[in-house]
């Protein structure tokens, strides 16, 4: 039993804007009966280019019907430029929440909208058949392309194969493509992870300097002082930390080792792996 919230149930039980607009300006059809859900969206523009009327027909479960209903409410009155920016997250936001396994229902809403806009603009309709040209089919059971997996993963910050299944259905039947989906995810997030997840990189120069000073004073200096040495923070530019080793350290033959394995290692560990250290006389 799904634990749908009140909003989802309300839109399922009383869906808004059911039907088809007569002589529509744009029509978007996505999904198919094999997949278990499908959505046909039609809209008409007013003289200012805003969506005056929009209607849907949906084959699918309660969350698919609720997602479609909410979508029509969101886009009514929007210009096509505004509507083109609507994503599945906007649908979920209005609904409050959807069960994880049902996220693909909100994605279907977004796709139908994009298809309808493309239809109006006379672009190649972004139907599933055409997506084949954009991408390569990864999930053969549900006809999901690598392009779609990448797009949905980036838009919704999806990191696991399970999440991809919930949002796109890919890998949900025979499971033959699970390895391939993992590779796509690896391709997206490896590399990006390092840069994005480094909070130090987001700091201003002043904040960086303060952090470095803190680490040197609190962590590094006491260590060196135990051996009769000391350290002074001199300057910081382009991720390079300039320090001056003092006391016994200054004269120590293994100063270079201390610099790399103690000072630099500590700064990298506590602040950022991009930091390097050099000793200035």
């Amino acid at each position: 039993m799904w634990d749908y919230n009140k909003k989802v149930m309300e839109h399922f039980l009383n869906p808004r804007n059911v039907g088809e607009v007569e002589n529509p300006d744009g029509t978007g059809e996505v999904g198919n009966i094999t997949c278990g859900d499908a959505l046909k969206l039609t809209f008409k523009l007013d003289k200012d280019g805003r969506i005056a009327d929009v209607k849907f027909k949906t084959f699918g479960c309660a969350s698919a019907i609720a997602s479609s209903s909410v979508l029509t409410e969101i886009v009514k009155g929007m210009t096509l430029e505004e509507a083109a920016e609507v994503t599945n997250k906007d649908i979920v936001d209005v609904l409050g929440e959807l069960p994880e396994e049902k996220m693909h229902c909100s994605v279907m809403g977004m796709e139908a909208l994009q298809a309808a806009i493309a239809d109006y603009r006379g672009e190649a309709v972004a139907s599933e058949a055409d997506e084949d040209h954009e991408g390569r089919i990864v999930c053969k059971c549900f006809g999901v392309t690598d392009t779609k997996i990448r797009r949905v993963a980036l838009e919704n910050n999806l990191r696991t194969v399970e999440e991809i299944k919930n949002f796109t259905k890919a890998g949900g039947a025979c499971g033959c493509c699970l390895d391939e989906i993992q590779q796509i995810l690896d391709g997206i997030w490896k590399g990006k992870e390092a840069v994005k997840e480094d909070p130090f990189a987001q700091l201003s120069v002043v904040q960086k300097v303060i952090k470095i000073q803190e680490v040197i004073d609190r962590e590094i200096k006491p260590m060196l002082e135990k051996d009769g040495g000391s350290i002074e923070f001199v300057d910081f530019r382009d991720d390079k930390v300039q320090v001056r080793l003092q006391g016994r350290c200054a004269a120590c033959p293994s100063a270079a080792v201390t610099l790399k394995h103690t000072v630099q290692a500590k700064l990298q560990e506590l602040l950022s792996p991009v930091l390097t250290v050099e000793n200035v006389k």
Binding site: W2, V18, E20, I33, K57, F59, C61, I65
Partner: protein, 401 residues
């Protein structure tokens, strides 16, 4: 989903209500009669007698009359559920027939068989899967070709949980024995609905589950024909003649016995009154709702089960709208379980996707009434019409596309 709302329970193949008499029978064993049946003192010993009485009641339902030297129906072993019984049967066959490594099952078995078969495959066994036709009938010719001297066990369900088909297990048991293979049947859906006479059959092992026949969840039975080699699945103490370790679930076993006695008494009712209710429901829906299919084998079907496909709409939506009215049914559609594909049974039958996604199973019991059936006949058609009005496919169909 408030609890005070009236409930029309048409989901008896999922589980059943505990019969009031069953609850009363088990109550003392949850309160004052808490002894261990293995104990030497009378306080525990009397509980042991209750277990043997229940065993006799189950034996009676299954047509097992022979007793061992102690006067016990030791061909009946109590387990924790139908799934445990299925596991025990298949694994026992694997261990006791080391020279044979082939197992044959049907494509429409319950996961309690299919997933065990997959596990056996991982352990080096070969599995043959018998296909079914569009009515869910087994391809017996294919079965005949598949069974050979290397076959350890054939396991075919007596009746299918989703579409209610009854399979010719006696005939299949005879085919298996011709090649020296064992025969097991998962009879979870059949017991209590169709007469069973194991003493006059060739069935070697049979599984059943208490909660499908008005006993509580947590008790099952495995029948093993006398003389049949068996290796326990649950290893432990000497309980159940050393064939199933673990202190007996006495209250559940007593309940199982009472439920078996009642099922035996009511089996006629299942095949007359319950069957009539099911037929009334089916005909009532078919008379007013267009574009439906009634699934299964019309000539060999459980009296309580009706599987109906409502074309061009999706099952979860139907169930949710029925639920708003307190009507409980289940579906073979994907969305209800979080899986993305329709049930393996419907797919094995080759049901078109237009129908598979909108398949609803109604399963009745002797506690249902004609009034409940009429309520569903009255309220279901508008639900179907409403969802079809939302469906893009219904439109396309009617405009002749």
């Amino acid at each position: 989903m408030s609890n005070t709302k009236r409930v029309i329970y048409f989901d008896n193949n999922a589980t059943t209500a505990v019969a009031p008499e069953v609850f009363e029978a088990m109550r003392p064993y949850l309160t004052e009669l808490y002894g261990n049946p293995s104990s030497i003192h009378n306080f525990g010993g009397q509980v042991g007698f209750a277990v043997e009485k229940a065993r006799a009641q189950v034996a009676d339902l299954l047509g097992v009359r022979s007793v061992d030297s102690k006067g016990h129906h030791s061909e009946i072993i109590f387990t924790s559920c139908g799934t445990e019984s299925d596991n025990a049967a298949l694994f026992s066959a694997m261990y006791t027939c080391p020279k044979k490594n082939k197992f044959i099952v049907s494509k429409v078995e319950h996961p309690a068989i299919l997933n065990v078969a997959r596990e056996l495959e991982r352990r080096g066994c070969r599995i043959g899967y018998i296909p079914v036709d569009s009515h869910g009938r087994l391809d017996l010719q294919r079965l005949e070709e598949m069974i050979d001297e290397e076959t350890a066990l054939v396991s075919i369900m007596w009746a299918n949980n989703e579409i209610g088909n009854i399979y010719p297990v006696e005939k299949i048991a005879a085919m298996a024995h011709k090649y020296g293979a064992l025969f097991h049947t998962d009879a979870v859906q059949a017991v209590g609905k169709i007469p069973i006479d194991l003493d006059n059959s060739q069935i070697d092992m049979l599984s059943l589950s208490g909660h499908k026949l008005h006993a509580p969840k947590g008790v099952g039975v495995l029948y093993i024909r006398r003389g049949q080699r068996f290796r326990p699945f649950m290893i432990g103490g000497h309980q159940e003649n050393g064939r199933r370790g673990g202190t007996e679930n006495v209250a559940g076993i007593v309940a199982m016995g009472q439920a078996a006695a009642m099922a035996k008494a009511d089996i006629g009712e299942e095949n007359t009154r319950v069957r009539a209710l099911r037929d009334r429901l089916e005909q009532g829906i078919a008379a007013v709702v267009p574009s439906i299919r009634i699934n299964g084998d019309p000539d060999h079907r459980l009296p309580n089960t009706s599987s109906i496909s409502f074309e061009f709409i999706e099952g979860e939506s139907i169930l949710m709208l029925l639920d708003q009215l307190g009507i409980c049914a289940s579906s073979g559609s994907a969305c209800t379980t979080g899986s993305l594909e329709p049930s393996h049974v419907l797919r094995a039958m080759g049901l078109p996707y237009t129908a598979a996604h909108g398949t609803i199973r109604f399963s009745l019991s002797r506690y249902n009434t004609a009034e409940e059936v009429d309520f569903v006949i009255e309220h279901l058609p508008p639900i179907i019409a409403r969802l079809r009005q939302i469906s893009p496919y219904w439109d396309a169909k009617n405009s002749g596309r």
